[in-house]
């Protein structure tokens, strides 16, 4: 019997093997997904909410108010989009062009740099399917997929049988964690957990590069050289190695140079790839879509047919410097995810929030439109953390409009 599988848009893994039991547009049972996926898929709601100034209105009123805000703004910020389909993202880019907006997504303060480097071929990349089929050494560096991408180890990076990995994880795979704390993932890695102090990543990279070259690895925090040499030996012997890069590593480095040097050193001795541990299901999609259009992955400003780019156009710097005078926020909650010392400036400008769920910012928004959950109540396409395109269809129906439909209406009304 052919089974009907759905894609889970709960995180950047985009698991494509989820079975669901539903009745009357309510999902009752979800098979094979993790807790995050189940919570995400069961979060659907039937009726739409449209508000202006925290009072319920009809859809047309909400849209026209949103349009008025965008028209009046000299430099609106369009932000979010990591949990939107490619189709919605492309519309948002077009809208940003049309309104001479400052456009950014969450990647500017998380993994954007890494994706940009990948798109510019600074790192050797591979897909998660390659990982399952071939990888013998997986390094989780500053990442804890057990908490952020729960099925990562079971579906791709450690436990499954793959075409070239038929004898099982105990014999054919090594999982290594490098982190500042013993995360759930580090626990599974057992003796291959290397605990370093906060901010100690750059030194550890340098020590590892020294060890790969046969020199004595030194760190100011006296990490046992023997263990670094042991690690270097494992990495040298890898036939297909992967580093899964998380925020723990990226936040600890001033720039990507040390990581590039490490990858180069590893690839002189063996065969290593890099996969970014993207959290939002289509953050990488946004980076790729914007890159295609402008050559940049985030933090852009459209003006008179030109595109400006730089950290000053990131959400953080533009809010800090108060250079934006209105905000359209799609599927994100800066009041939750950014430092309050910065996000508080959002409360001084009119905001339009388009989001499936109530958030801290939706409650403060001038205009709030609740939309269908992308991947649960509306379909589209997205890019997985490893760059693979995935199409998905809605699991259930809802009366709520898709974010794509809302953006289309805003665009038409402009």
């Amino acid at each position: 019997m052919e089974k009907n599988y759905y894609v889970c848009t709960g995180c950047g893994m985009l698991c494509d093997d989820i079975e669901v039991e539903s009745e009357k547009n309510i999902i009752n049972k979800v098979y094979t997904a993790c807790r995050i996926g189940v919570a995400h898929m069961k979060d659907g709601k039937e009726s739409a909410v449209f508000r202006v100034d925290n009072k319920p209105v009809d859809e047309a009123t909400a849209i026209s108010e949103a349009v008025a805000i965008l028209k009046n703004a000299k430099n609106p910020l369009i932000f979010g989009l990591g949990t939107c389909s490619d189709e919605t993202q492309e519309l948002a880019i077009e809208l940003a062009r049309k309104t001479s907006a400052n456009l950014d997504d969450t990647s500017s303060y998380c993994l954007g740099k890494v994706i940009e480097a990948l798109l510019n071929n600074k790192f050797k990349a591979c897909t998660l399917d390659d990982v399952r089929n071939k990888a013998d050494v997986s390094i989780f560096w500053g990442s804890d997929p057990s908490d952020s991408h729960p099925r990562h180890l079971s579906k791709h990076s450690y436990f499954p049988r793959g075409t070239e990995k038929q004898r099982g994880w105990e014999e054919e795979r090594t999982a290594i964690a490098i982190d500042v704390r013993k995360s759930h993932t580090a626990k599974i890695c057992g003796n291959y957990f290397f605990q370093i102090p906060p901010g100690g990543d750059k030194e550890f990279i340098d020590a590892l590069i020294a060890a790969l070259a046969g020199k004595l690895p030194k760190t100011s925090y006296n990490f046992p050289p023997k263990r670094i040499l042991e690690l270097a030996n494992i990495l040298k012997g890898a036939k297909f190695g992967v580093i899964f890069v998380g925020l723990g590593l990226i936040y600890s480095l001033e720039d990507l140079e040390p990581l590039i040097q490490l990858m180069n050193a590893l690839n002189e001795k063996s065969n290593f790839h890099l996969v970014p541990m993207v959290v939002h299901y289509n953050m990488r999609g946004f980076n790729e879509n914007l890159f295609k259009e402008t050559g940049y992955v985030n933090s852009v400003k459209f003006e008179d047919g030109t595109v400006k780019h730089g950290p000053e156009y990131s959400i953080v710097e533009s809010l800090k410097a108060k250079t934006v005078d209105a905000a359209l926020i799609i599927g994100s909650d800066p009041l939750s995810s950014l430092p309050r010392s910065i996000s508080k400036n959002l409360l001084e400008i009119p905001t339009i929030v388009i989001d499936p769920c109530e958030t801290l910012i939706s409650k403060k928004a001038k205009v709030y439109i609740s939309t269908a959950i992308s991947g649960v109540e509306s379909g589209g396409s997205a890019t997985r953390m490893d760059g693979v395109k995935v199409d998905f269809k809605p699991v259930i129906e809802t009366k709520r409009p898709s974010d794509e439909a809302v953006l289309k209406k805003i665009m038409e009304a402009l």
Binding site: D17, K29, V30, Y31, T32, C34, A39, F159, I188
Partner: protein, 154 residues
Amino acid sequence: MTNAMELYQLLPKTNCKKCGKASCMAFAVALMARELTPEDCPPLKEEPKYKESYEKINELFKPAEGATETGLIVHEDLCFGCGNCVVACPPNVANDPYGVGSGNAPRNVGKLVLTVQDGIVRAQNLVECRRFGKNKILCNACIVTCPVEAIEFV
């Protein structure tokens, strides 16, 4: 948990063989292995003079309530459905190599020991578990791969 000798002390010690075992000691061993239950000893269950012992033995086995025949307990509050155990479980791999064995959704649910439903691992078909039956071994694939100690054998 208790040992077979302790259990033996609570049995009738008549070696009546009504349970199908050669002796009360053999019955105690079978109890420990969860091949038989206290109910399988008719005198213990029925005769009033053993009432106290019967209750005591039942009490001893009580902590294992909610456990399956192999003693497998899933702590549902800890499990978050990563599926590591599902993919690492040797009978799961043998019975469904291209489904769960390859990290995918089950293709042969009827033969699987562990699956994930609503984000939590469920045990079923314990006859397939390597800890079950006569030729059982102390397989611990589902335990060592669990990040949160959500699976326990009692």
